[in-house]
């Protein structure tokens, strides 16, 4: 019976992979990649909650009784586009950091900051 929960476990594993990348890696681009994996796992979580067995996509048509829940679809649809916009903002910050410090590794940025103090 517990196998009925497998969708949440996939989500949790993906989320933890993303979190691990964000914590353990020093490279800023890699961190942004980790964040977007984390983000996608949340998307999968919402969409998998909306699924109903035997239902179809929520576009009304004749002869179809059951539809999946449209509300999470709406939320995630907009979240994806907002996600790319915020990712672009993060990448823009990375580019500026690279120009200012000559590196996008956290350690080196920290070292330069310590020298300045």
């Amino acid at each position: 019976m517990l196998l009925g929960l497998y969708n949440y476990w996939v989500v949790v594993v993906l989320m933890m992979v993303g979190l691990y990348i964000v914590i353990a890696h020093g490279n800023l681009v890699k961190k942004i990649v980790g964040l977007s994996i984390f983000q996608t796992s949340v998307f999968i979580f919402y969409i998998s909650m909306a699924k109903i067995d035997g239902a179809t996509a929520p576009i009304l048509a004749d002869g179809i009784e059951k539809y999946s829940n449209p509300l999470p679809h709406v939320l995630i649809l907009t979240a994806i586009v907002v996600g790319i916009a915020t990712t672009a903002l993060g990448l823009a910050l990375t580019v500026r950091i690279k120009e200012a410090y000559g590196s996008i590794e956290e350690d080196e940025i920290q070292k330069q900051d310590n020298l300045d103090c």
């Binding site: 020093g26 829940n69 649809l77």
Partner: protein, 323 residues
């Protein structure tokens, strides 16, 4: 999942970005399998297309190799494992996958599914929820996208160059002479991509699609053009300040639809104010709002891309930045 683990191990950032693209495409196919066609559409065009492209531009600026040093991977692993097992413990109370009795399906969702045809008259429930029932939310999202675009503009904006453009042109031409076949094929494809974007934009009421997806596809056609014909050519075709104005126009168009219904004595975003027949009013309102969303998304994506590429072509500005 396998792809995600590969991303952790990989040092070469180029490979990481490519894998991220594959990962996005895979999750898009997950979404189709779970009936979310609209979402899959967006994920495929955004995740596998545009975000991969942006990351490629960035690593071409910042270098593609990652330093091997990590901060205490064991500690990170411990944190991740504890959090993960707590989350898995929490899922034990969750409803089973695909069950129709889950609490999420009990409250507003049946109303959207049963009543939206009479109230809105649009077959695609996702569109009617997005643009009518929850129009206020969507307005907020559009404003967030607009703000992010402005943020990128503020961080990376390129000062207009006059004397250096000439050298750049020669460079661009010599480089793009080599890709003759690519250029001709792309030239043939771009009109169809644009046409498809418009189809997605205006057919969103009936099938999967809508302003968000159409905007992204439209922007992808422009990106393709820019990549093949060079930045300076694209800049001549598409005026920067015009695009920036378009981005604002989209948000304003969306907002003004709400204001019009407010002025007519109805609530904000109540489209029945737009026309005598409530259903026709809904159609008109959704059309206008999707148009506003599409314009904003497309122009913000183009602004972001142009600024990244412009920054890359112009590294000399680094010295003038004053740090």
């Amino acid at each position: 999942m396998v792809v995600a683990f590969a991303i952790v191990r990989m040092k070469d950032l180029l490979a990481v970005v490519m894998l991220l693209g594959i990962y996005s495409l895979l999750s898009a196919s997950f979404f189709v399998a779970m009936d979310a066609v609209d979402v899959a559409f967006t994920e495929a065009s955004v995740g596998a297309g545009i975000s991969t492209l942006l990351m490629l531009v960035v690593i071409s600026m910042t270098g593609r190799s990652e330093q091997p040093s990590r901060h205490k991977p064991l500690l990170a692993l411990a944190v991740v494992t504890v959090t993960g097992s707590l989350l898995i413990y929490a899922t034990l109370d969750m409803p089973y996958f695909g069950s129709a009795e889950a609490p999420i399906h009990q409250h507003v969702a049946p109303r959207y599914i049963n009543a939206s045809m009479q109230e809105i008259g649009v077959p695609n429930i996702v569109t009617s929820v997005l643009a009518s029932y929850r129009a206020f939310d969507t307005f907020g999202e559009v404003v967030v996208i607009f703000t992010a675009g402005m943020g990128v503009l503020a961080l990376l904006s390129v000062v207009r160059r006059s004397d250096s453009t000439l050298n750049n042109d020669i460079f661009d031409h010599s480089m793009h002479e080599q890709h003759l076949i690519l250029r001709i094929v792309t030239k043939m494809m771009i009109p169809y991509i644009l046409l498809f974007a418009f189809y997605v934009q205006f057919h969103g009421d009936f099938g999967p699609g809508g302003g968000f997806q159409a905007g992204v596809i439209f922007a992808a056609a422009i990106f393709l053009y820019t990549m093949l014909f060079g930045m300076s050519t694209a800049r001549r075709v598409i005026n920067q300040s015009f695009i920036q104005m378009l981005a604002a126009t989209g948000v304003l168009l969306y907002g003004s639809v709400g204001v019009v219904s407010l002025l007519n004595g109805k609530e904000f975003f109540d489209y029945s104010a737009l026309s005598a027949d409530p259903i026709a009013g809904q159609h008109l309102g959704i059309l206008l709002i999707e148009l506003g969303v599409g314009i904003t998304v497309a122009s913000v994506m183009i602004i972001i891309f142009f600024n990244f590429v412009g920054r890359r072509n112009n590294p000399l500005r680094k010295e003038n930045q004053g740090f």
